[in-house]
Symmetry: C2
Subunit: 475 residues, 2 copies
């Protein structure tokens, strides 16, 4: 019967200290969201596959976790297929509008028989789906935050998990660039509170559009964006190679290189304009960047950096784009990103609703904070402030009565539940959980109503009354 248990690849259990550290991060981010007037939303873990597929590119579709339909579909399918191969009569209710063997069906079509639902891949698409479904109840602009797990069937590796949390804030139904400034401020304040120094990188998709137009290749905007997005990972030479493969001429590539080599500063905007021949897309992007910088002001905790090489993979961005990179530590990975999308709800039938959003990657933030030792020391395994140890039945009863009195003062307290003469075992338990205080109940303690209170960190022991005990723990 007995199996050696394990958990699926790329997933993790979170023990007491990890859960509390994760909650510490979540609470800080949530407090900043709320102070800026964002409202919470939660969507189901499962979405219909029709909602998810085609939204994240082909690669994204491959990474969706799909849920097997209920019932023994597999067996039914095999039976159906064998009948088809044997030219027997097929049940038309089982597979409407198709008769033939199953391997002739394309894989997308055939899949819907065994899976119609998938796990959430990000929080943006479910949000867009929610907005469209609830458009008549929502007061626009709709400012929502959402902090939930997402799932991707990615190859597991360091810092990349199959179940991980995103914390998103989005505003939809407002074209105002004040929203971009608000989101920059949210990044800035949250990372300041977490103690992580970051670069907040900003660019504008309209500059990339302007560049493609200046190259005389507006239709190649997608290819150019995808290539530039890889710059940090593969370097300028490989980007050049990729552009050459996509059919760009050496003149065009030179222009793109000049663009990528622009210093990361507002001072480069004039040169950028020249590269793009000051076309309309450039002018529009320039106006947006200036307005956002004007709203944001100069009093940020972190550096806001205009980085023209920032591209972001997702195709739905149309204006400002953001990425946050932690400065300290060996993990230079992105810990947040986002941007403006002018028509995300359009795919669900609600056009002309512009939105802008950012995302915090909880798991990567955790890894950065752990490496840089940024978590408060006060996060212990156990919430318990005092544990009562004892030698016998009578002592345990006395300990429990006292424990209940102390909890009335809102102090987390517990009694070692089992009877054991081995007081060392009880103290080991307290130590391993990081419980700061212990009181051992013996006959003297019960008779005199005086407690031997020991601070397990300092080792100091003192005889105190119940009131003194409560005061000591609360101080």
């Amino acid at each position: 019967m007995a199996q050696k248990p394990s958990i699926p690849q790329g997933t993790r259990d979170f023990g007491p200290k990890e859960v509390q550290r994760r909650k510490y991060i979540l609470q800080i981010i949530e407090s900043v969201f709320k102070k800026s007037g964002f409202m919470p939303l939660e969507t189901p873990s499962m979405e219909n596959l029709s909602t998810l597929t085609g939204k994240y590119g082909d690669e994204g579709d491959q990474l969706l976790f799909k849920i097997l339909n209920s019932g023994d579909y597999f067996k039914k399918l095999i039976e159906y297929n064998e009948k088809a191969l044997g030219h027997e009569e097929l049940d038309p209710t089982f597979l409407p509008s198709f008769s033939g063997k199953l391997s002739d069906l394309d894989s997308k079509r055939s899949l819907s028989f065994i899976a119609e639902k998938g796990l959430r891949y990000d929080l943006t698409v479910p949000f867009a789906r929610y907005v469209v479904m609830n458009r008549n109840q929502i007061s626009f602009p709709f400012k929502r935050y959402q902090m939930q797990p997402v799932w991707r069937a990615d190859r597991p590796q360091k810092g990349r998990y199959r179940e991980f949390w995103q914390c998103d804030a989005d505003v939809v139904g407002s074209n105002s660039l004040l929203n971009e400034a608000e989101l920059i401020r949210i990044y800035d304040e949250a990372f300041a509170l977490l103690g992580i120094p970051v670069f907040i990188k900003m660019n504008n998709r309209k500059f990339l559009t302007a560049l493609a137009e200046a190259c005389g290749a507006p239709e190649l905007i997608g290819a150019i964006t995808v290539a530039i997005d890889k710059l940090d990972k593969i370097g300028i030479e490989k980007v050049e190679e990729e552009l050459k493969e996509k059919g760009l001429t050496s003149n065009q590539i030179e222009k793109i290189k000049a663009y990528l080599l622009l210093p990361k500063s507002t001072n480069s905007l004039k040169d950028l304009g020249e590269i793009c021949g000051n076309n309309e897309a450039f002018q529009k992007g320039l106006e947006e960047v200036n307005t956002i910088l004007d709203f944001t002001g100069g009093d940020l905790n972190n550096q806001l950096e205009l980085d023209f090489s920032l591209a972001r993979g997702l195709s739905y961005y149309t204006g400002a784009i953001f990425e946050v990179v932690a400065i300290s530590g060996t993990l230079k990975s992105s810990i947040g990103g986002g941007g403006r999308y002018d028509n995300l709800t359009g795919i669900f039938g609600l056009p002309d609703v512009s939105g802008v959003g950012i995302s915090f990657g909880l798991d990567r933030i955790y890894d950065v904070m752990e490496e840089a030792k940024l978590f408060p020391e006060t996060i212990r395994n156990s919430p318990t402030k005092i544990i009562f140890c004892h030698f016998d039945e009578k002592g345990r009863k006395f300990a429990y009565d006292t424990c209940l009195k102390i909890r009335k003062e809102n102090i987390a307290a517990e009694v070692f539940p089992d009877i054991t003469k081995k007081i060392g075992k009880q103290l080991d338990y307290a130590n391993s959980l990081g419980i700061p205080y212990v009181a051992i109940i013996g006959d003297d303690e019960m008779r005199d109503q005086i407690f031997s209170l020991k601070n397990l960190e300092t080792g100091i022991q003192q005889k105190v009354s119940l009131v003194e005990l409560i005061n000591t723990i609360q101080s």
Copy 2:
């Protein structure tokens, strides 16, 4: 392109007010868990199917949501099957230790080719799995709480969802009945804080064992438990019928009826002893009940009721069992349950680790509280305390500068992001979100640095300085 979006049957979106109300419940339950020294744990949403199957009975296995393996397994399987039917050579690496057509495989075996993972069905089995995997790091007794969603492919109906939350507290590695008393107190305090009057029902599986033995049919304990468990739903006659079908004699059924008709009180324990011939199982159960009642004491907020007809469906319970029923409202459904299990970790290879646990059903608690109007009025849609409205670019800039100052005082504040002359639209927005204060920025306000602060609930408007504005909102 445009699809009409929807969400999977039995799942729900939670809007701003619902999320906050759910968090209100979760926070109260969590605070009680922590005060009693329970530590948080979180496990992955997905578990290996080998961890889940066979733990919840045949019906439970049917209700597991299974995750389709990555890759195009379906197509591969169909190809494999067609080759098998055509007596072609089969690829042994694809389906080791089997050659033949797939419909000859039993459905359990064949399933593992398309699904190896499933969604969490409850929090108890993943907890047992965690304990076994981490036995060498854990300090026993291990007191953990866990508040996470679970998934069941149940037929959706009122009050029953396919994704719902459980809040569990368990102690493993301790035989002490003090733990049972602690868990009763947790139920009692949490429901008192939530404002829901409840019956906390308790029974002991050993009484059911004693009854089966007294009937001379110890092997029928399972059938008797399952039948009794249905008493509330189907009534005593139908329970009799079911027992008859299971092969019990009328003498045996009379004994069981006498047991079920015992008044719900400790006064019935003597009669219960007589029904069971005071056998050993009864004596052990009696001792446990008395010890638990002694530890629990008489100062509970809610009634602790000894209910001999309580049986609980799950087979792994061995001692005390609990169920909590809300008293007010039309929803008489169970909002919590639990019990002692002597060998749950045994299925994963770690025998002799006794545990006891309880569960809160968040979604049912929510429904009870909504019906009885028990949520605080202070839970609004938006966290925002004040919104600044304006007429033009200049007004918006002034509003935003003021807003940033106010946020420094830790007040949630926002500025209507878009420029619109229609002040009514801005006020509608504030009203629909339940924002309590609004300040409209016009030329006078900017010149005099005096704000027209309106309380949207009372309608009272006053002219105030920035300091007065902050004080008014904070008070």
